[in-house]
Structures are given as C-alpha cells and as structure tokens.
C-alpha cells in the first residue's frame, strides 16, 4: 500500500470536523466524501488523491459514533489513517466496515512524517517505509481479532 501524506499536526481530531453534523442526514457515500474534513480543512476534497494517507496525533476520531466519518474519508480515497492513537468507535467502524486501516505509531514516527511524504505501508511486517526520507518505522501490530477482521474484509465476512 503506497501513497502520499496529508498531515494534520494536532490531537483530538473529532468527528465533528471530519464530517460536520449537518451532513449526518446524508447516506450517499460519494456525497459524504465531498464534505470530509470540512471542519478544519476546506480544501481537503480538492487536494486528496486515491491512495493517500492521513497522519495525525492522539485520539483521532473522538466524539460521535457516526460511521459517516470513516466513510467520508474512505470514499475520498484515504486508505489508512496513521495516528498516535484512535477513539474507540472510529477505530471499530473503520475496521468492522472495512473502510480504512487505523494504524497506530509512536510519537517520534508521527513527528518524523511530513506533509506530502511518500509512504509504503506493509501491515504483514508491521512496517511503514518513508520513501521520501528513506527511513523505516514500526507500526503497532493490530490486536489479534482486529487483524483477523481486516484480513476477512470486515466484520460481516469474519467467521468467529
């Protein structure tokens, strides 16, 4: 999985900015994508390219349970969010719905990755390669069940 980085240097990026409340009535996934990140980045929809990664700080996706948030990011083309930590409902929505990969990294890795860096993520090796900076980072391995659900392609394809 290879792509370029859109970085937000902040913690607690909440669902109200990832997909603002007024759009909760919308359930057309492509329509939701047009409003992704609107709360902090009006240009997101214009600049995001298929395969891009978002990089952010702690507690990404905190706030509401709206599955609209990972949906809007996924249908914008985001394949993974790389963050120091995630809020629980965002995390399980991303995994169970098979929308995108929530990848946890340590603080040094988060700081080292810059806007527009090219990353290659290989989850089977728990490895993130920064092709721009020619560096390799370690991602936190997925917990066992999460890894299985991801491998199955979402909760509905997973057989307990």
């Amino acid at each position: 999985m290879k792509g370029s980085v859109i970085k937000y240097e902040r913690d607690n990026i909440d669902t109200d900015v990832i997909l603002p409340g007024p759009y909760l009535k919308i359930h057309d996934y492509n329509e939701l994508a047009k409003h992704a990140m609107e709360g902090i980045d009006k240009d997101f929809h214009k600049k995001v390219k298929p395969g891009d990664f978002i990089v952010a700080g702690r507690n990404f996706g905190c706030g509401s349970s709206r599955e609209h948030a990972p949906i809007a990011l996924a249908y914008s083309g985001i394949k993974a969010v790389v963050a120091i930590s995630f809020a629980r409902i965002f995390y399980r929505n991303a995994v169970d719905g098979a929308f995108l990969l929530p990848i946890e990294v340590d603080e040094d890795t988060y700081k080292d990755i810059s806007e527009a860096d090219q990353l290659e993520i290989e989850t089977s090796k728990n490895e993130i390669r920064n092709l721009t900076k020619n560096k390799t980072y370690t991602m936190k391995p997925f917990p066992e069940l999460i890894g299985k659900i991801i491998a199955a392609g979402g909760l509905f394809n997973y057989k307990p």
């Binding site: 109200d16 900015v17 009535k25 507690n59 509401s64 599955e67 399980r92 909760l155 509905f156």
Partner: protein, 423 residues
C-alpha cells in the same frame, strides 16, 4: 470481577473474564435513531448487493427506535429519512418506535431511562456515542457505528474487548449550586478527552448514593467525552424505585464482587467541587465559572440528553423564576414526558415569563444540525456535551459547556455567571 466484567461474562457464557479479553457478547437491547437507522439501512443495502440474503432480524423484540436528531424534519432529506426509518420498522416487525408528533418521543438516551427501555444487568448497544448514558441504571451500555449495529440486528451479538475500569468515588454531598455536570466536567478536565479511552468509568461512593437518578445520568452521559467505552453505576434502591415507577420490576441485577479490581481509583470530595465551565474547543478545557465572568454571550441553550432532563429544567427554573433573560435563550426538554412534567410543575411558565423560547425535544442544535444553530463568531453557553469547532453551528462560533444553573444564571446577565454570584 467488577460489575462490567460480570455483565460481559454472563453475556458471553463465560465464568470469568478479565480486561483485554475479547468476547462476543449477547445483546439484550439495541437502539437506532433517525441518523443511525438510515445508516444501518445503507449497510443492509450494501450487504444485499454483495449477495447476502436479509429477511429478518435476529429478534425484533430487542430493538427500539427513536426519532431525535433531525426532527421536526429539518429539510426534505431529513423528512425522507424518517419515512425510510418508519418503513424499516414496519418491514422488520419492530414494535417500539417513538414517533415525533405521536405522544411520547424524545432524545433516545432520555427515552432509554424515561421509558425503562434498558434494565439493570443488561447489555445495551445503540447507534449513538452517548449510549453510555444508560449505564447509570446498572447496565453495560456502549455506542456503536452502523456496521456494528447492523451486525447486532442480524446476529444478536457483537465483539467487545473487556475494558479496564476506572472507579470514581465521590465522598459527601454536593454543595448548593453545584451539579453532576460540574463534577463530570471536573473529571474530564483532570483525565482529558482520552483519559478513559477504551475503558469503563464507574461511579460510586456516598456522593453518588445521595445523587438523584437524573444527575447520575449526567455523569455516565459524558463518560463519552473522556473517550470511555461505557459508564456504569451499580443499581441501588433509588434505581429500583425509579424503574418501578415506570413499570419495570423484572430484571436481574448484577453487582461487583467484594474483591473487584479497578485499574485506578479516583477520589473526590463533593464539598470541594464548584461550578465549572468547559471553554472552546474541548470538553477537557475546563475552568471555574468565576474565571470567565467577563465573557459575553449571544445565546444560552438548555437542551440535549445531557442537560434537559427534569432535574436540569428544575435547576434552570430556580434561577430564571422572576428574572428576565438578557440573551437569546432556548429551553428544549429532552422528551415529551419531561416536557409534560415541566408544564405540570409550572416550569414552562417560568421559562416563558423570563422571555425564553421553549421548544420540542430534538438533538438539532446540540449537533449543529438545525433548530437554532450559531452564526459566525457567536458565543453560546450550553448544557450540552461537546464544544468542538463547529459543533453547534458555524465553525467560528464558540460553545462553553456548563450546568443548567450556570447556563440560566448566564442567560440572566448575558455573561458567564456563577449562580452563587447572581444578585
């Protein structure tokens, strides 16, 4: 085991569970509303397109439905969503649907306790993050997204990682003019918006026993803002009486063992608490109300599952009685049953005499969707639960979170006001 571990062990057919175990728990109650319902319907459509056959729910008797976020219908799309949800209810044989404009309806988390939809010892999941609220009855209550709720509707169970429990002990009785909202804001200020991430927040101690049920519900409600999976309080006689008044007497209480383990215990003295406000743009950004007395306001909002229960309205009325509001003030009881009680007790008259607007139950303004959103640069004091950028309207508006007493006192002066300082 503590109460949360015991409930999850019972629900997953195990003798014992420990934090970090992953279990598939049988679910006793499921709730969807007019946002998560259509979200679940979209998941069903996606599954059907991929070849899955969906003919019936696992058990429609366990499911209940609320209309709260976009009612009264904010626009054509919202109106259509309610039609869609109503058809879903009909198609799948769901019997409990609280419809706007047909007797009892209101915010889902308020109905969960007002209508005793959830009982002690149960596993309850809802398509809304503030599902945690109902844990105050002694149930395991957690919010989920659309895919997970769809999975529960079809399979009757869902995975949970057994959470560690943080125990918050409150000693003594709350002083006058201090409410549960002040206590939970103080806790969130102390531990941060991810201070309880993936964990359960349990409340206990003499201060909790003294507290009314509705005040306890304010605590569990905002465990969400500390990142918690759930909030919980063990069932006591007050809960039993509260549920009995609502016709519910048949349930199996669960209590923690004598040697129950907690990841951490926090202890607070009620006598040391005072009116607290969370400044923009995070519920953890707290300070005492008196520090903000020069902050001028455009609006006071008394509404939502957090701050428009009957006790909240009584508190606001205590302040507004015989006074006049200086800024635009809106009071929206959280359910019709509460609206009616507020009317019977004369609270609605007090609000209207003070010049405030009284409106129907809705989540509308709390999530910045409709029914009174904020303009650019407007400043609001609110009894709701979140104040992230754009939460209650324009991305450049500002929301201060406070108790109904502080919100009402601030409505009277037009500035953030500690109710103890009101002349």
């Amino acid at each position: 085991m503590n109460i949360t571990e015991k409930i999850l062990a019972n629900a997953s057919g195990k003798n014992r569970v420990s934090p970090d175990d992953v279990v598939f728990a049988n679910v006793d109650k499921v709730m969807v509303h007019d946002v998560s319902g259509p979200g679940v319907i979209a998941v069903f459509e996606k599954l059907k397109k991929s070849g899955m056959k969906i003919e019936k729910l696992y058990n429609p008797e366990k499911v209940w439905v609320a209309e709260d976020h976009f009612v009264p219908a904010a626009d054509k799309i919202s109106a259509q969503n309610v039609v869609l949800l109503t058809q879903f209810v009909k198609d799948y044989g769901i019997r409990k649907h609280f419809k706007y404009g047909m007797g009892q309806y209101g915010i889902c988390h308020t109905l969960s306790h007002e209508e005793a939809m959830v009982l002690p010892g149960e596993v309850y999941v809802g398509g809304d993050s503030h599902t945690n609220t109902t844990g105050a009855l002694g149930a395991f209550a957690a919010g989920l997204g659309h895919t997970d709720v769809a999975y529960v509707l079809l399979n009757g169970k869902i995975w949970f990682k057994v959470p560690e429990t943080l125990y918050f002990k409150l000693n003594g009785k709350m002083p006058d003019y201090v409410m549960a909202k002040d206590f939970i804001l103080r806790i969130i200020g102390d531990i941060g918006t991810d201070g309880a991430a993936y964990k359960t927040m349990q409340f206990g101690g003499g201060g909790i026993s003294e507290m009314s049920i509705e005040e306890r519900l304010t605590l569990t409600n905002m465990t969400t803002e500390a990142g918690a999976k759930s909030g919980i309080i063990e069932t006591d006689q007050k809960i039993r009486d509260y549920l009995a008044q609502r016709g519910a007497t048949n349930y199996k209480e669960v209590r923690g063992d004598q040697d129950a383990q907690y990841a951490k215990v926090y202890e607070y003295e009620a006598s040391e608490l005072e009116p607290i406000v969370a400044k923009p743009f995070s519920p953890e950004n707290v300070t005492v109300a008196r520090d903000l007395s020069s902050t001028t306001l455009d609006k006071a909002y008394i509404g939502s599952c957090t701050g428009a229960k009957l006790d909240d309205l009584r508190a606001a009325a205590k302040i507004l009685k015989g006074r006049t509001v200086k800024i635009r003030t809106e009071v929206l009881p959280a359910a019709i049953s509460i609206f009616r009680k507020a009317m019977d007790e004369g609270l609605v008259k007090i609000f209207m005499d003070a010049g405030a607007m009284v409106g129907p139950p809705t989540c509308g303004a709390c999530c910045g969707a409709h029914m009174g959103v904020l303009a650019k640069d407007e400043v609001c004091i609110s009894t709701t639960n979140r104040n992230f950028p754009g939460r209650m309207g324009h991305v450049d508006s500002k929301t201060y979170l406070a108790s109904p007493l502080v919100a009402a006192a601030s409505a009277v002066t037009g500035k953030i006001t500690d109710p103890r300082d009101l002349k």
